[in-house]
C-alpha cells in the first residue's frame, strides 16, 4: 500500500512538472491517471517503502548529488586533458573492486556514479560476492583493496547511509 502511495506522488509530480502552469482540468486528469497507474503497478515500484519517511536519507541523497556533480566535472576535465594531449596518455584495463553495498538500488547507483564520475566504467556486477568489474581509462592499481579505495570509496559510504 505504501509503495502505491509513493508511486502515485512521483507520477503526479512528474505530470504536474510536464504541464507546469497548473490548471484544475489537468490536475484532475493527472490525479485520475496517476491513481490508475499506481493501482495497477504500485506493488512493483519499491521493495522497502518504509525508507521513504527517513529524513536523514534525503540529506545524504543531497550530499551524494553534490559529490557526484563535483567529481563528474573533475573527471570530465581529466578526460578532456587526456584526449587533447597529443600523446593520448591512457593506460586502460579491467580491474575488480569489492563493495559492501547489497541492495539493488544502491548497487545501481554506485555503478552509475562510477561510470559518470571517476576514470572508470562499470562492465559487470556480481551481486552475490559484491564484486564490480570496472574498465579503467588509467589503471593506477591492480590490487582489489587499493582499487576500491581509489574508485568506489567516496560514493560507497554516502550510498550506504542513503540506501542501506
Amino acid at each position: 500500500m505504501k509503495s502505491k502511495i509513493v508511486l502515485f506522488v512521483v507520477c503526479l509530480i512528474i505530470w504536474l512538472g510536464l504541464n507546469w502552469p497548473i490548471n484544475p482540468q489537468w490536475l484532475a486528469a493527472g490525479v485520475l491517471v496517476s491513481g490508475f497507474v499506481a493501482m495497477i503497478t504500485g506493488d512493483m515500484f519499491m521493495r522497502r517503502p518504509h525508507i521513504v519517511v527517513h529524513i536523514k536519507r534525503y540529506f545524504w541523497l543531497l550530499v551524494y548529488f553534490l559529490v557526484l556533480l563535483i567529481e563528474g566535472i573533475r573527471a570530465n576535465i581529466d578526460l578532456a586533458y587526456r584526449v587533447l594531449h597529443p600523446d593520448l596518455p591512457i593506460n586502460p584495463g579491467i580491474v575488480k573492486i569489492k563493495t559492501k553495498i547489497k541492495t539493488a538500488v544502491g548497487l545501481t547507483l554506485l555503478a552509475n556514479s562510477i561510470t559518470f564520475s571517476t576514470g572508470a566504467c562499470a562492465v559487470d556486477i556480481d551481486q552475490n560476492k559484491g564484486y564490480i568489474y570496472v574498465h579503467c581509462l588509467d589503471v593506477e592499481s591492480q590490487n582489489i583493496k587499493a582499487a576500491t579505495e581509489l574508485i568506489a570509496a567516496r560514493f560507497e559510504t554516502i550510498l550506504q547511509k542513503a540506501f542501506e
Binding site: G17, L18, W20, I73, V83, L84, G93, I94, K96, N112
Partner: protein, 108 residues
C-alpha cells in the same frame, strides 16, 4: 539570467566536442564508451540546464530539467549494458591494456 544560460550551453557544447574527439582518437570500444558515458552526459546535461536557466519555471524549463535528470540516470546504464554486451560478444581490449581481471574470473 540568459547570460548564465548561454554560458552553460557553451560549456555543454565544449564537452560534447571533447566526446566526439575522443570517439575518433580512442583505440577500442571500451575507451570510446567511457567518453560517451562521461562527456556526453555532462555536456548534454549542461545544455539542458542552460535551457532551463534561460526559460525559467515554465513548461519548457521543467521538461529540460526532467531530461537532465533522466539523462544522468539512464546514460550510464546504457553504457554499462553496451560494455557488457561488447564483452560477451568477445570484443578484444586494445593492445595498450595492462590487465583484464574479468577474464581471469570468467575462466575459473
Amino acid at each position: 539570467m540568459p547570460e548564465i544560460g548561454r554560458l552553460l550551453i557553451i560549456i555543454g557544447l565544449f564537452f560534447n566536442f571533447i566526446a566526439i574527439l575522443s570517439l575518433l582518437r580512442m583505440p577500442d570500444v571500451y575507451t570510446r564508451l567511457q567518453a560517451a558515458a562521461r562527456s556526453v552526459t555532462l555536456g548534454t546535461g549542461s545544455i539542458m540546464l542552460g535551457v532551463f536557466v534561460c526559460q525559467g519555471f515554465s513548461a519548457t524549463g521543467f521538461k529540460a530539467l526532467f531530461v537532465t535528470a533522466f539523462l544522468i540516470l539512464i546514460c550510464p546504464v546504457c553504457v554499462h549494458a553496451l560494455a557488457k554486451g561488447a564483452y560477451k560478444s568477445k570484443v578484444k581490449l586494445a593492445d595498450e591494456s595492462v590487465c583484464d581481471q574479468y577474464q581471469e574470473d570468467l575462466n575459473i
